[in-house]
Amino acid sequence: MSTLIEQPRYACALAAQQTVLAIPNSHPIVHAGPGCSSKAFGFAAFGAGFQGEGYAGGSHVSCTNSSEQEVVFGGENKLRDTITGALKILNGDLFVVLTGCTSDIVGDDSISVAKEFATEGYPVVGAETAGFKGNSYYGHEVVVNAIIEQFVGDIKPQVQEGLVNVFSVVPYQDPYWRGDLEGIKNLLEKIGLKVNILFGESSAGVSEWKDIPNAEFNLLLSPWVGLDTVKLLEEKYKTPFLHYPVFPVGAQETSRFLREVGKFVELDEKKVELVIGKEEKRFYDYFISISDFIAEYRNNLPVELYTVADSTYGIGVSSYLVNELGFIPKGIYAIDDPQNSIQETLNDILLSRGGEFKDTFKVEADGGLIEADIRKKIGESKKAIILGSSWEKFLAEETNNLYTYLSVPLHETVILNKSYVGYTGGLSLIEDLYSSLFKRKTTTSRTQLFTN
């Protein structure tokens, strides 16, 4: 894999300010140069379908705006002033100090400064998120773990039966995170669980975080991001975890997922099957109604699949499209820069969902190389659909193929509660995939878009 990056698909660790903002009523305090916070916002929130500043993001983020003075003389005092000011003017349940390149290179002990405030009883946490330390995924884990270590802390769990903490997609880095987390919560509630979803509109906020140690189990719904977190929780609170690596999209995977969760916590099997039966009936009632369209537009249907997304969403969506909609996988690109040691595992996870995926999977964070590879594979084909970011839209248009939005950056769409998770998400993806046919140019069943 290249270490240079063209067309970046993630920001730096400091973008974890968005992880903080995703917790209701929580504030990042950025100890970094003057542009870091707004760049991270520009990419992760503005560039994720205009999700916006929400309660307190965007230009409202507290920041030391470190300058030459802080670089030469150290910035700890400036950080103290900024935390003091933030606690005074902002209403918040949790404040997370995030550091940038300037403060981490000059060696400010920002975590200790945060601790000074915590010791006085303020809900302040510190995390080192300098850009050179890692990417958005790394920053997310660092921040989540820092909140657990410093804010949830060493308490004795009072285990509540049927309570689960969910760790899954990375807020904002997954542009559909709000709808996704709401969808996952709904699914789990349907089989009788009580859910700490931790982020987004359907989370109760900080009270859910304080409740983390009391869960019966932790659910990791992602191939690798969050694994350190559930391991930390296992060690800290002796909470077992279920690692379900495939993000459930569509009927087959979602039913499989619910069964596995049910088995793990020994839920009443009949109850789980009743839920699955009801959900599948609804799903397939809708699903078969595409048959008229499929029949009529056979010549125009995209069949070759390219997916550019992180390994959570990319694998989940690709599996659904290949197994339930008959797509032929051509290139599945994971952009989340997982460690070398787990790249093989990711490939195995994908292969476990179908032999068709052999030799289609690539871990690549350099968008320029992804583009070059797709161009080479796509050749003269007009039968492809590329699921990805704004960059893939341009590539699809240039090669006269179709696209659907799946990953950041996304600058030309507005996202509220859209999601592709679960049964309903699978249906929603069908709508978007096939509707993309009509967004290109006037298409009818008799004008063969791809063959003329």
Partner: protein, 489 residues
């Protein structure tokens, strides 16, 4: 002392232009204090996130046609490249140019590089950019990380330039070096002046340099009325075009904050005269701007004819708009100088200018002859109350707006516009900095204000359901500038 010197970096604005980031008072007082250099660039004890010089530099370097950019930084510094790419595509298509693609590679500085240095990475990024994009020049954008670890960009640039045979241009836009993000414009211009611009081979008497942000193509039709051609700079100019900007008849710009540095150097070093009246915003400034350009290009009588015709054309609709907008108060929130431009339109629409905040303020410009747009605004609109300077800081601006209660707000800065919306104030985003130039610009702004007022249910609905993050203590605090004076724990 000459404005340009051959040193690798241009002096930051705090030292060069005595810029300030905090002020509150009125326009007369700010203008007087500026002349006396009586304001310093002191910070505040508590602040919200600003922007950095790199972010400004990239608005220039990303958009040079046939150029590539190496961001010598961790990946976070260049993440807004996709947004620029989309802007470049849209504007190049609108201007009938070949679709512009932003060609950027990040050297992706990582932890070990901060210990052992990243020069090798920079070299390989430059060669990779050469291989992938076949550019005619490569800009190297510095970053906080590359600056603090002391990367020698100059040596790598010289070395690779020899090897590749085209200019490799370091841009010293490290975010921590200046509190004034506009320093990034100067940094990019300085790199271009040092390594790209050539002496004129001939003079092009009908060519006008227009320094602008990447906006709509309104200057070409506008200056066509004077039979002049437009050299849009720097976004979407090609490398060849940049090499020959010294051949133009004169240089104008849409905003003093953007381009007074390069305009002054072009005049001083290459004899290209700079238009030294404010940019063409509002009817009176547009008149004077056209006259000044006409003087440089010997078109005085044609200019008078155009001015007369254009006045006659817009007057009827202006009358109508003034009636519709009568009694409304406008607040302007924008970068220094450009805020003055927008504010100068307000009087033409019969609106009241209730106040203005600029995101910084240069106490003077690069050359004493350059336009003082604040003074010009006072001249055209009288003294203005509620004039402040702060670099975004919505916690302060919020209190100012709640006190003044404007009917309309106009903002030129991304992610500040939503503050007005959250407060239920119909707000215009002046993202396209060319949009309101000239006589038509006044009319268009009037129409936009009118539409914003007629559709204000949307923003009122948003405001009714918005919860602001600020504490009661802050919302009740009398002094919006509390943190500039001190802090008690």
């Amino acid at each position: 002392m000459s404005i340009f010197n051959e040193s690798t970096e241009v002096e930051i604005r705090e030292r060069r232009l005595h810029s300030t980031l905090s002020y509150h008072g009125d326009a007369n007082d700010l203008n007087e204090k500026s002349k006396q250099r009586a304001l310093s660039c002191k910070g505040r004890y508590y602040g919200q996130c600003s922007d950095c010089a790199e972010g400004c530099a990239e608005t220039i370097t990303y958009h040079v046609i046939d150029a590539a950019v190496v961001s010598h930084a961790p990946v976070g510094c260049s993440v807004n490249v996709s947004n620029h790419h989309i802007l470049g595509r849209a504007v190049s298509n609108a201007r009938g140019l070949e679709t512009h693609k932003v060609h950027m590679i990040s050297s992706n500085i990582q932890e070990k590089d901060t210990v052992y240095g990243a020069a090798e990475k920079l070299r390989s990024a430059i060669y990779e950019a050469d291989k992938r994009f076949k550019p005619k020049t490569i800009f190297i954008q510095a970053s906080c990380a590359s600056g603090i670890i002391g990367e020698d960009l100059e040596s790598v640039a010289n070395e690779t330039e020899d090897e590749l045979g085209y200019p490799i241009i370091p841009v010293y836009c490290e975010g921590f070096k200046s509190r004034i993000w506009s320093t990034g414009f100067d940094a990019a211009f300085h790199g271009i002046l040092r390594r790209l611009i050539k002496k004129p081979k001939r003079k092009q008497e009908d060519l006008v340099n227009i320094f602008n942000f990447e906006g709509s193509d309104l200057f070409i039709p506008f200056l066509k009325k004077l039979n002049l051609r437009v050299n849009y700079l720097i976004p979407l100019a090609s490398v060849e075009q940049l090499e020959t900007i010294t051949e133009a008849a004169c240089t104008a710009h849409i905003c003093e904050t953007l381009a007074t540095y390069i305009a002054a150097v072009l005049e001083e070093k290459y004899g290209v005269p700079e238009v030294k009246v404010p940019a063409p915003f509002g009817i009176d400034w547009t008149d004077e701007w056209l006259r000044e350009i006409a003087r440089f290009t010997n078109r005085e009588s044609l200019a008078e004819k155009v001015i007369q015709e254009e006045h006659a054309k817009v007057l009827p609709e202006l009358d109508d708009l003034r009636k519709k907008l009568k009694g409304k108060k406008v607040y302007v929130l924008s970068g220094d100088s450009f805020a003055h431009n927008i504010a100068n339109i307000v009087k033409d629409l019969g609106l009241e200018l209730a106040g203005m905040n600029t995101l910084h303020h240069d106490l003077h410009s690069d050359s004493p002859l350059q336009a003082n747009t604040l003074e010009a605004l006072i001249k055209s609109s009288g003294n203005i109350k509620n004039v402040t300077v702060c670099n975004k800081q919505p916690y302060q601006v919020l209190k100012i707006l709640q006190k003044i209660k404007p009917d309309l707000l106009i903002v030129r800065h991304m992610n500040l516009t939503s503050l007005g919306t959250k407060l239920g104030i119909p707000t215009l985003f002046e993202g396209d900095a060319n949009y309101s130039i000239g006589y038509d610009g006044v009319v268009k702004m009037g129409r936009r204000f009118d539409e914003a007022l007629r559709t204000k249910k949307l923003v009122e609905n948003i405001a009714a359901h918005t919860k602001l993050p600020y504490s009661d203590w802050w919302l009740k605090q009398e002094d919006p500038f509390y943190f500039e004076g001190g802090i008690q724990k």
